[in-house]
């Protein structure tokens, strides 16, 4: 049974190499964790596509069930969930994130 929200999520995840599901927008983040995550990718000069889950409550409700990750932000790279704010920062510190993004 096709679910429009699931389809939409799948399309978003596949639309760009780096996709961030966040609260707010890059210009106006609505949560400290979302802001810190977008800042990290800006600092690395890595382009990302962001989806504002406050503006899209259906995605906010559905994505955690699909990704099996309860909180936001959620960071997807190459179609795979990498984790949340803490994980990408820890991976940045260890250099693993740069490797995953091929910028190391």
């Amino acid at each position: 049974m096709p679910d429009p929200v699931m389809d939409r999520i799948e399309k978003e995840i596949k639309s760009h190499r780096v996709v961030l599901f966040v609260k707010g927008t890059p210009a106006a983040p609505q949560c400290g964790f979302s802001a810190a995550t977008m800042d990290l990718f800006k600092k690395m000069k890595v382009d990302f596509h962001s989806v504002d889950i406050i503006a899209e409550p259906e995605i906010r409700a559905t994505l955690p069930q699909v990704s099996k990750w309860p909180t936001f932000p959620q960071i997807f790279i190459d179609g795979n969930l990498v984790g949340g704010c803490d994980i990408v920062h820890e991976m940045y510190e260890s250099g693993e994130l740069q490797k995953l993004l091929h910028i190391a």
Binding site: W69, L81, D86, I87
Partner: protein, 75 residues
């Protein structure tokens, strides 16, 4: 809202015998910084390690806790 001791107790029950630290990041009882050192994490990716901690707190997330900062370590 929760006291850090309550969060600590939930995690100590979920990770018996392991080292758990909980700090109230904002003093408002809904943002916590959690560190868990457990052999349970061995061989798991960071993503999987965090999922184990999230699962332990699943009952409290959103309802009583707004956000957690998680750090996992393998002893």
């Amino acid at each position: 809202m929760m006291r850090p001791e309550e969060v600590q107790r939930i995690l100590e029950n979920a990770f018996p015998g392991d080292w758990v630290s909980v700090e109230d990041m904002t003093g408002t009882g809904d943002h916590f910084e959690i560190v868990v050192t457990s052999s349970v994490f061995r061989g798991k990716s960071l993503l999987e390690q965090h999922r184990v901690v999230q699962a332990a707190l699943a009952g409290e997330m959103d309802s009583r806790i707004h956000a957690v900062k998680i750090k996992t370590r393998v002893p």
